[in-house]
Point group: C2
Chain length 351, copies 2
DNA sequence: GTGAAAGCGCTAACAA
DNA sequence: TTGTTAGCGCTTTCAC
């Protein structure tokens, strides 16, 4: 893993020259100063009506588009939002991205996307890069519930919104869902179906959603008066493979659970795979509830009961919080906690 | 749709000042010129060993990281790769992105992501923005098989790689799969299972993959000596909903097909939904083959026969082609066409 | 309300 | 091999 890559020269893109029009050419054409052009296009400062007209004409005629790198340097900030997520392959996160995108594109921002792959080292590097690109803000789903790098950025007044997962003891805008409650409700739903042997496949506890969903599970079990068995508490890493392995362990138990709650979408798929492999019937022999709805949940075998999260809405909210903070850095910190929804389908039925 | 948004002021990020170290401070600390710092960090030009040492020490001590916006302006190009895809929600494309990312991160590039949403107008704007950001190259899955904007960029020597879909009569690096052959093989597979009433749900013909897969379908039918019925040729837009509607139309036919080939993954999910809705049995009453494998294809009801595409590999290849071209703009144009693989699962069986 | 001019932080040509 | 210096294209004081 630690071997050096073949030591080839770093690729540094070639200067392709500037085939494009500059603000100077527009100024010349319109017979005004570059300052006026800038004022017209940025909408700041006073420009008379006729000046504005003349400028806009020249801009249109030359098909001028301001060089964003020059603007970025001068303004000391770019029109870029950095988005750091922990797994781009997970539809949950891509839905967040869509939500984010739908908001920021109205303001002419673009997304610089990084995939931390649940690796704090990568995450740190990516945050540094985003800072060096002078992004105007960052939306991140952090891979640990603690991050010195993030703390540093926030202390340097980088606008940051934490999404899906939270960071302990850090004053930062955040968007999340009621994980504890959601998991608790799911357990109570299972309990109401007379399930007593309920298992959990949850995420790692160093991720807030992992810890919270576990907590909700335990709370639900206590409320339902069901004793908790250690061997029914399995931990995965949010990836499909780990869900598969965890489910295998559960199925190998002398006394199998009759129901299982799975802590995210990909692990649920893995769990289903394991269950199908040994031909255990869902929901007759084992009931399954997963976190996150998916557009194909109804086409699964069988249609899956899920705790749906408002993913798109979460992205939208995070983007709004971020733009607000970019506009007004002194806003008080805001946490938006959204509700989940238990959608009961075939995979959970009376034991 | 065309209504004006509330006319609020554009959000322009505030100059957050520079809490960060500049090259000047490093130069001072190390007692050398800024040019030397630049040379050491970029690896270009000659620097003596001891100089390099001194510089690296100062860099480490001050925790200096070059401002990429300033570098971008001066170099007249950024270390950013623009990626324009047509649907970020589609796992096919996110897998491409992962592949791209895995290659370019080694060279310290980052991804500026845009989602064209199959809309040429959006695509055009996004390409303009990428140009204004002076990205060093673009990987795009174009939403039409023709694009003046792309033509313009290529003629201005912007490194471009077209992925998944192709552009007619444009000399540009490309990565794709053997769509015609793949669709043809799928049809022959169905024919070998004695299916004669085979339907197609394909994408729009203004997208190359839509056209090619349709062509492959027709070719397969001819080869198998099966007459082609117009009502068995349905067109969707690559989204789930359209697959659902197309399948509904097929199921409403007086003479239903006994097999259907679907032109991409999301439409396949829609088709499954429609089939389940009317309780038609797969594969007994209708066999289904979809394009693109998905990690959850085995958990679908029933496990899905698919034409698997090497998605990650496609992303990797595209990124390599792009970096090559960035390094060496005069390379001849290259087209890499990868093979698909028909994975037979339960959803296709003897009629 | 408009223009002149000074940089943003870095790189690269040119000099030494 | 190293330093000096002139910008990259834009925005933003500061004068007028």
């Amino acid at each position: 893993m630690n071997e050096k890559r073949k030591p080839r020269n770093p690729i540094i893109p070639k200067n392709r020259g500037s085939s494009s029009v500059t603000i100077k050419q527009v100024a010349e054409k319109a017979g005004v100063s570059t300052a006026t052009i800038s004022r017209v296009l940025s909408g700041r400062g006073y420009v008379s009506f006729e000046m504005r007209q003349r400028v806009l004409e020249a801009v249109a005629e030359l098909n001028y588009q301001p060089d964003r790198t020059a603007r970025n340097l001068r303004r000391r900030v770019s029109q870029i939002i950095g988005v750091v997520i922990s797994d781009i392959q997970n539809p949950f996160f891509t839905s967040l991205i869509r939500g984010i995108e739908s908001v920021i594109e109205e303001d002419n921002f673009v997304i610089l996307l990084s995939n931390s792959d649940e690796d704090p080292r990568r995450e740190k590097i990516q945050l540094n890069t985003l800072e060096a690109e002078r992004v105007s803000g960052i939306i991140i789903s952090p891979c640990r519930s603690n991050s010195d790098e993030l703390r540093k950025l926030v202390s340097e007044h980088m606008p940051v919104v934490v999404i899906d997962r939270t960071i302990a003891r850090l004053k930062v805008d955040a968007v999340a869902v009621h994980n504890v409650q959601a998991a608790c409700d799911a357990v109570l739903h299972l309990a109401s179906l007379r399930h007593r042997r309920i298992a959990l496949i949850c995420g790692p506890e160093w991720v807030s959603t992992g810890a919270e969903r576990r907590q909700g599970f335990l709370q639900g079990m206590r409320t339902a008066g069901i004793p908790i068995l250690n061997e029914y508490l399995q931990v995965g890493d949010f990836r499909q493979e780990s869900g598969y392995l965890a489910m295998k362990r559960l199925l190998d138990l002398p006394q199998r659970p009759t129901a299982v709650l799975v802590g995210n979408n990909l692990m649920t798929l893995g769990a289903l795979q394991a269950i199908h492999e040994v031909c255990v019937a869902i929901p007759d022999e084992i009931a399954v509830i997963g976190f996150d709805d998916m557009s194909w949940a109804t086409s699964l075998q069988p249609p899956l009961t899920v705790i749906a999260q408002p993913t798109f809405e979460m992205g939208v909210t995070a983007a709004r919080l971020l733009l607000d903070r970019i506009e007004n850095p002194d806003l008080p910190t805001r946490h938006v906690i959204l509700d989940t929804q238990l959608i009961v389908r075939t995979s959970s039925c009376p034991a």
